[in-house]
């Protein structure tokens, strides 16, 4: 057991965690923050994406003990009280949500993107959510919503990448 202090969505939490507990398990099973989803436990789907010191990580691939002394933001921490973040508004407005299981991870990935690049290009949006699988939407609305939240018609750089 390790005793850790971690700031989650702005509030300090003191916890005792087992070595083999992942950050995902800690959030869901110890803290009841079930907005962060488990889709694979293997770093493959992105449903568990949270922000660790502002950067997105797969919470299933981080040990709970490693978050000691760090800041974690989950989907529950994106809104300011009852006020939804612009990204959340855009996701609703543009129907970027279907079953909603990928949504928390999409939002956290996109939130970090807009922190890094307030006016992201198409390639930057693609890069940001490449690791967030969605089986429902075909991604079209998700990309639209991120672009919309950025308040820009992102530069039409087309799709690059190794071909």
């Amino acid at each position: 057991m390790h005793t850790i202090t971690v700031t989650i969505n702005g509030a300090a939490e003191y916890l005792a965690v087992r070595s083999n507990m992942t950050l995902l398990q800690m959030l869901r099973e110890e803290l009841g923050l079930t907005g962060t989803k488990n889709g694979c436990e293997a770093g493959e789907c992105g449903a568990c994406t949270v922000l660790l010191d502002g950067e997105p990580v797969n919470a299933c691939m981080v040990l709970a003990v490693e978050s000691d002394g760090h800041q974690v933001i989950t989907v529950e921490g994106l809104a300011e009280g009852d006020e939804l973040a612009p990204l959340q508004e855009s996701f609703i407005e543009l129907n970027a949500v279907q079953c909603g299981f990928c949504t928390p991870g999409m939002l956290t990935s996109a939130h970090a993107l807009l922190q890094r690049h307030p006016k992201p290009t198409e390639d930057e949006i693609e890069e940001a959510v490449l690791g967030n699988l969605c089986r429902c939407t075909g991604y079209v609305r998700i990309v639209d919503a991120i672009r919309d939240a950025a308040g820009s018609s992102a530069s039409a750089s087309g799709k690059g990448g190794a071909r």
Binding site: V62, V65, A162
Partner: protein, 298 residues
């Protein structure tokens, strides 16, 4: 047969310095960890069952990334892929490494995945290995009270096997200053456009060299097409000896294809992988050449 839910039990210890790493490594069943992105899936699958996990990324220097014109780039073993991608000096002087790091998995995974973990895991499809090889990097292996340099060229000895001796750990990777005027390109082919493991990875570095008959030298390394990442010396010789042209590139690519010994697996068949070595090598050569000698054509 099936991966377990969650991680099996183990004890987690964070090493504060190299001395602690060395003493913790002595314990039976100890395993080093940085990002855990290779280790955790292996533990879930039961491929390895460490009793103790020693987190070495907090050892001083492990996450440092520094560039010196003369000495080149010093990459702490625990530098993450995203750190590499973003770093100005890497972008300016070692873009091929930035390309390779950028091709790994997803943005969020690259925040955890480290270059040291990538090379130490010694998977044939590790994306940074071919880039480190053409940059002629050196692995800095830290034993108790001693440091040893192992050339990247023969660092990986087999799938999952490296030249690391018991009692050593990877502290850093050093890349010499690239040859003057060097241009590099890492091309990765996956089953989908982005985000897949590579089924073929080709790294090409070209630079002017008056001593070479062609006036240029090219280094070529291949990933995913043999048990270990490989250089393609015969191809490199052709390029040093013959004026760059479509024919020369084709001949070199043919040689590169010749060194590949892929096996058919669930990701791709051997024939396709071999032929893709040729196709990607030609593409990478063309790209590099276009930048090396703009307007010269091929």
């Amino acid at each position: 047969m099936l991966a377990r839910p969650g991680l099996p039990s183990f004890e987690y210890v964070q090493a504060a310095n190299a001395a602690e790493v060395h003493s913790l490594m002595q314990q039976s069943g100890a395993r080093l960890m940085m990002g855990g992105t290779d280790l955790f899936p292996q533990m879930r699958e039961g491929v390895c069952e460490p009793e103790t996990i020693v987190d070495v990324k907090h050892v001083p220097g492990m996450r440092d990334l520094s560039y010196d014109e003369r000495l080149g780039l010093n990459i702490g073993a625990a530098v993450t892929m995203n750190q590499l991608v973003r770093h100005r000096d890497v972008q300016a002087h070692y873009p091929i490494l930035a390309q390779a790091a950028h091709s790994v998995a997803s943005y969020q995974l690259r925040n955890r995945a480290t270059i040291g973990g990538n090379v130490c895991n010694a998977s044939p499809c590790a994306d940074t290995s071919p880039a480190v090889m053409v940059l002629e990097g050196v692995m800095v292996l830290q034993a108790k009270g001693a440091e040893r340099n192992a050339p990247a060229a023969d660092f990986v000895t087999g799938p999952g096997q490296t030249a690391i001796e018991p009692g050593e750990f990877l502290a850093a990777i050093r890349l010499p200053a690239p040859p003057a005027g060097a241009v590099g390109r890492y091309l990765k082919l996956g089953r989908s456009r982005l985000g897949d493991l590579s089924i073929v990875g080709v790294a090409v570095l070209g630079y002017p060299d008056p001593a070479a008959a062609s006036g240029y030298r090219f280094r070529i390394a291949l990933g995913s097409v043999a048990p270990i990442p490989l250089r393609a010396p015969a191809a490199e010789e052709i390029l040093a000896a013959n004026t760059p042209s479509e024919e020369t590139f084709a001949a070199a690519a043919e040689e590169a294809m010749g060194v590949a010994t892929p096996i058919t697996d669930v990701r791709a068949g051997a024939t396709y992988q071999k032929m893709m070595v040729r196709a990607l090598t030609i593409r990478a050569l063309r790209d590099v050449w276009a930048e090396l000698a703009p307007g010269k054509g091929a």
